[in-house]
Amino acid sequence: MFAIPKAKIILLLFSLLVTTSILAQDTKMVLIKRGAYVPLYGTTDKKTVEVQGFNVDVYPVTNAQFIAFLKKNPEYSRSKIKGLFAEKSYLAHWESDFNYGKNNLSNAPVTNVSWFVAKKYCECQGKRLPTMDEWEYVAMADEKRIDARIKESFNHYILSWYEKPKTYANPVGGTFKNYWGVYDMHGLVWEWTSDFNSIFLSGESRKDKDTDKNLFCGSASINATDLMNYAAFMRYGFRASLKAKYTTRNLGFRCAKDLK
């Protein structure tokens, strides 16, 4: 009498697992062609940085995809995670370990995840986190141009996000599709990068290096006279406030992959 329903449930669970894992593996990536750009910060004397070709996820990782990952790697679930790798607010908005609850959409970006776990997630997909240069390189494109950073309306769009509350609850893919075919680089959530803390992290680095001074206090206001810089300041400033085990409600991630 109990055997049939049990079998059914198992089957159901199994099929659910299969579909979700298919979904997870199904994350579309697009090719970002090799190029060069001048980052706003992080280089001395504004030198061009070369970015090798790579693949990047079209969308940030979603709640549904993240659940599939947790089921395979339960040691990263909310109750099992080691304090070293994620602080208490890790997935705090979820209902339980393997349930994101009714208040969160399956296709909303997963947030409140630490850098350690984001990195692990990407590795489990045979991918990695994008570097800050890679991320910034992709993010400077609007719908039509590889580098739209000098376009006023583009910067207004980026800046306007800071004034929109609770965008983290929106589904992925709701913002514009950029030149490369990538969505949600702006207007949804912040995203982890592999080397998020490479500049402006400690009080020391702020004071000791001239380049990093650009990001702090007085010198920031001297240099930041245009919108382009203002939009970028926000990202660099945000990254600077993070530590690898931190999780915040507005911070998600996507993965990248080297070209074979």
Binding site: K166, C217, A220, G237, S241, T248
Partner: protein
């Protein structure tokens, strides 16, 4: 020769020492970095215009300050929304009251729903960045740092996260008071007011959620200059209050980010001003300058009843950008100090022309016929942005200065005359509800539709006769009328 010179030098030195001792008598040489603290208390924090209880003669203590940063949507003026970044949920941020020698344990908490990292630079702190280098905090996190208050005075605090200007422009500033040993002398009323300039995409009064405008901020071209974060935060029902004979102390700060304030209370003279929030006291001051990122403590005794208007006397900011507040004083009049009007008559010289605002040629807009509720809504918002400063929020006016619009016989008698007044201004004597007024109303630079909506709202409110004014009526008046003086009939 030599001895004479010596004696002279001695006398000179002695005088210098005495004079020195005398003038620095109040500056006790106590080294506040050394004084011990007793116990531990959690600081009372208040939103403007209130301040926490005075410290009195309590000993220096360990003071715990819990400050939460919130990014919230608020209203700049009726119908204009703005996303404020705040210390403690208000602009300016929570008032912190300490005494010299306190050891402050500062907990800076960044609400999890916030998007941005923030920090705090308190001008009362002796140390790198005023605390900013130790307090950069990500959303959903908390940073703690300690400092000892070494110098008494009134100090500004603000966010110093890049881009600093934007964080300040969005409201991230407040005041911290460090009282001297034994506290400031007691007064009857204490208030907390802070000026700030705001830069929005749309011009003053443009409806909807207005984003921050970086270009205007760099050009220092403010759309709003306000007290306590929004237009009308201390006017009407929210006015500061006092009774005749009381002494009022205002802790007045200026968050900026750009503009310096010419702080003035119309009809009052500051008995005392702690210049720039420091030890030096100036007496009998009309207008005191408050730098951006600075503060002053002003004190005055109120001797007569009435509404005293608080302004930035860089005066277009007051009447066109929102820098206006009110102190309502109740109590018996004293005709010796202020008599009111004792005589009035006619004087004609070559003056007496009506003031006109420079007109900007607007692109002709397509006029959309609005429903009555739409007209009323739009009219109410315009009234709140344009008319209320003089005619007051309930149209009650200010007795013997600005005529009432509520139950106004003058208004209800002739809508065309009302339209003309808004179009061209009005000056000279008018009689409203049996009382005479003799003042100048400037011509208002509004479109036909805006005038129609505003007047329809006024006619629909406060017991008026519900005349509906249309754009066509305004257009007709604009076409055929010339400036008139009010008392022509």
């Amino acid at each position: 020769m030599k001895t004479k010179f010596k004696i002279a030098a001695c006398v000179l030195a002695a005088t210098a020492i005495t004079a020195g001792l005398f003038s620095f008598r109040d500056n006790s040489p106590t080294d506040y970095s050394k004084i011990p603290v007793e116990g531990e208390i959690v600081a009372e924090l208040t939103a403007p215009p209130l301040v926490p209880k005075p410290i009195g003669n309590r000993a220096a203590t360990k003071l715990i300050v819990n400050m939460e940063i919130k990014e919230i949507e608020g209203e700049m003026v009726d119908g204009v929304k703005y996303t404020y970044w705040t210390f403690g949920g208000s602009v300016p941020g929570s008032f912190i009251r300490t005494r010299v020698g306190d050891e402050v344990e500062f907990h800076l908490k960044n609400h999890p729903d916030n998007k941005l990292p923030h920090n705090i630079d308190l001008h009362a702190v002796t140390g790198p960045g005023g605390g900013a280098t130790s307090s950069l905090v990500a959303p959903g996190h908390e940073k703690v740092f300690n400092f000892k208050t070494l110098n008494p005075g009134l100090y500004v605090y603000h966010c110093a996260t890049a881009p600093v200007g934007m964080h300040i422009a969005n409201g991230m500033y407040g005041l911290i008071l460090v009282e001297p040993e034994g506290g400031l002398p007691p007064v009857d009323r204490e208030y907390y007011v802070m000026q700030g300039d705001f830069y929005t995409k749309g011009k003053y009064g443009e409806q909807g959620l207005q984003p921050f405008d970086m270009d205007k901020a760099v050009k220092e071209d403010a759309d709003y200059v306000v007290f306590n974060g929004k237009v009308g935060s201390i006017t009407g029902d929210n006015s500061l209050t006092a009774k005749v004979g009381e002494t009022v102390r205002i802790y007045m700060g200026n968050g900026g980010p750009n503009l310096v304030s010419s702080f003035h209370v119309i009809g009052e003279i500051f008995d005392k001003v702690h210049i720039e929030g420091g030890d030096m006291i100036n007496k009998n001051v009309q207008t005191t300058l408050i730098p951006a990122g600075g503060a002053a403590i002003v004190e005055f005794k109120v001797d007569v009843p009435g509404t005293f208007i608080i302004v930035d006397h860089s005066i277009f900011r007051a009447f066109n950008k929102g820098a206006i507040g009110m102190l309502k004083v109740e109590g018996p009049a004293d005709k010796k100090i202020y008599s009111g009007t004792t005589q009035e008559g006619i004087y004609l010289a070559e003056g007496g022309t009506i003031q006109n605002m420079p007109k900007v040629k607007n692109e002709p807009k397509i006029v959309v016929a609005k429903t009555l509720p739409q007209q009323l809504k739009a009219g109410k918002e315009l009234f709140g942005g344009t008319c209320f400063a003089c005619h007051q929020s309930e149209g009650q006016g200010i007795p013997s200065v600005f005529p009432p619009l509520a139950k106004s016989d003058y208004l209800n008698a002739d809508p065309k005359r009302a339209i003309d007044a808004v179009l061209h201004g009005l000056s000279g004597e008018v009689k409203v509800n049996g009382k005479k007024f003799n003042n100048v109303m400037t011509s208002q630079n509004l479109t036909d539709e805006e005038i129609a909506n505003t007047l329809t709202y006024v006619y629909d409110s406060w017991g008026n006769n519900k005349t509906r004014v249309t754009s066509a009526m305004v257009k007709a008046q604009r076409a055929n009328s010339t400036p008139q003086s009010g008392g022509s009939h």
